[in-house]
Amino acid sequence: MASGDKLFLKGNEAIARGALAAGCQCFFGYPITPQNDIPEYLSKALPDRGGAFVQAESEVAAANMLLGATACGVRAMTSSSSPGISLKQEAISYMAGSELPAIIVNMNRGGPGLGDIGPSQGDYFQSTRGGGHGDYRLLVLAPATCQEAYDLTRESFDLAFQYRNPVMILGDAILGQMKEPVLTAPDRPADPAEARDWSLDGAVGRGPRLLKSLFLQDGALADQNRMLQAKYEAMRAEVRWECFETEDAELVVCAYGTIARIAKSAIRKLRKKGLKVGLFRPITLYPFPSEALAKLVKPGRKFLTVEQNLGQMVEDVRLSLCGLATSEFFSIYPGNLPVPDDFDEPIARALGL
């Protein structure tokens, strides 16, 4: 794919193409709506480029194949949607414990249980608090547009290898299914040396290498956890966010992903009516842009968190505000398709109108 082409792409396809542009060589998946465009696209594109595509027998197996491929220092990815991501958590925990640079895409759908195939942000906690057993963090990127889905996926591989840590791309059913123009960027194949110091490629001229998460000797697991904690702290350097019309805002709406862009429509409309409303949009959900949000605290300024779940990111928002301010919360229940009109009333209420 020539760079600089303006293509009209579904969010799912933007993610697939972003992965290819980053030099992704292996994909392991299992069908689930609403992310099927990703494996469908890569099932042709990867073999065409000499890479590997495997439709696994289950999400459990797909995530463990990802574990195997990334242990070899190869750029590899899986994608799924909420119920499938639950099944992948076993391997995600092992990959975090074994420090493997895997990319996991979650096109969040409604839950709990089988839920529906519509958009949802119900997996915020699962994504930002680890998701599986044990203490660990994923670097979580939350695109709001197809362009961002492409760009962040393309970058996610660099981040994963830089930190030797799994990275999650957290989208939703709307982002996956909608189409937007996407400006493609140059392919940037993996640095062949990026995993030279730790990956498995046969013990030639060196001692054997071992990638594992089992530490039974006295103190060994504590040392491992101390090291992981330091890494998660270092990942704070990657914090990203967007401020929109916050300068003079009396009310700052906090939202991420698709909900944030829908909020933007509502905010534009309300601005035209003279209401001073702005938007704070975290792009990294872990690390959460706490300091940037805290800096927005001003006497009299109010905050309103809107999410398509029962209230998850609002906990991070309130922690970030450090008690200097608080945030109201408005829930768009998973199962409802969110539209800009949904924001009018909660925004008016939060402004005290």
Binding site: V60, N64, M65, L67, G68, T70, Y94, P208, S213
Partner: protein, 264 residues
């Protein structure tokens, strides 16, 4: 060494020179040794990426000095698939027990074999969960007492013991499938021959190789090492017949090969 002495036998370098954590009479050490000998004899040591499983053999990486990745319980065939697809020129094998492979990892082993992944599987069947303390396994024999079937396994309640070699042989992607035992020297030698074939079908690109190795667990069987070897011959082999169930290199059918009485 004296000048006039000739070294006729030595331990493979790839097998670590350290005591294992295995119980007396356990066959894991023998199986490790056979794998190590073959990796050296076949020139595979520097090409190998080993996938270890959960169970007593979780520490295999302490004894075989090759690149290794640890898989979650039962997932070794999926992890091996990922490794092999990422690095098709490497030699990839898993080493799994019966709880790992035939219970929690049943889906992974079946589909890995069915896809014909170019990997090799060493399946150590000792009819019991060893590391967790002797619970019932999918291969536990009818009447065999374990900590979770204290009255003995009962077909009506727990089903029949699963015959993995026969199942794997029935799948399209398997190229070599055998069942052997480690209860005497003859069977140990035979096991090595079969493992070699299972490795060769990978290196020659023919397909998936699988050897089920009947092994002793004297501790959880609550018997001496000698009695444990006798149990393999008298109880296990009659239910789990030894033989080659599939050999794409020789076109041996399961019918002809599967009913061997040898090795008792």
């Amino acid at each position: 060494m004296y000048q006039d002495e000739e070294l006729v036998f030595s331990c493979p370098q790839v097998v670590a020179d350290r005591p294992t954590h295995y119980c007396p009479g356990c066959h894991h050490g023998v199986a490790h040794r056979l794998v190590g000998e073959l990796l050296e004899e076949m020139g595979l040591v520097e090409k190998t990426i080993m996938v270890t499983a959960i169970g007593c053999s979780v520490f295999l990486y302490n004894y075989l000095l090759v690149d290794a990745v640890e898989a979650p319980h039962g997932r070794a065939p999926a992890v091996a698939t990922g490794v092999k697809r990422a690095k098709p020129d490497k030699f990839v094998f898993t080493y799994q027990g019966d709880g790992d492979l035939a219970s929690i990892g049943m889906a992974e082993i079946m589909h890995c074999a069915n896809r014909g992944e170019r990997v090799s599987v060493v399946f150590v069947n000792n009819t019991v969960y060893g590391m967790t303390g002797g619970q019932m396994a999918p291969t536990t024999l009818i009447g065999q007492k374990t900590t979770t079937c204290p009255g003995g396994r009962c077909a009506e309640r727990e089903g029949m013991p699963i015959k993995m070699a026969e199942i794997i042989a029935s799948l399209g992607g398997s190229a070599y499938v055998a069942r052997t035992a480690l209860n005497n020297v003859k069977n140990i030698n035979k096991t090595k021959k079969c493992l070699r074939k299972a490795f060769e079908v990978q290196t020659s690109g023919l397909g998936f190789g699988f050897v089920e190795v009947l092994s002793a667990c004297p501790t959880n069987w609550k018997m001496s090492a000698i009695k444990a070897n006798e149990r393999i011959a008298n109880e296990m082999i009659p239910y789990f017949p030894l033989g080659v169930f599939k050999d794409a290199t020789a076109d041996v059918t399961g019918e002809a090969a599967g009913k061997g009485e040898e090795g008792k």
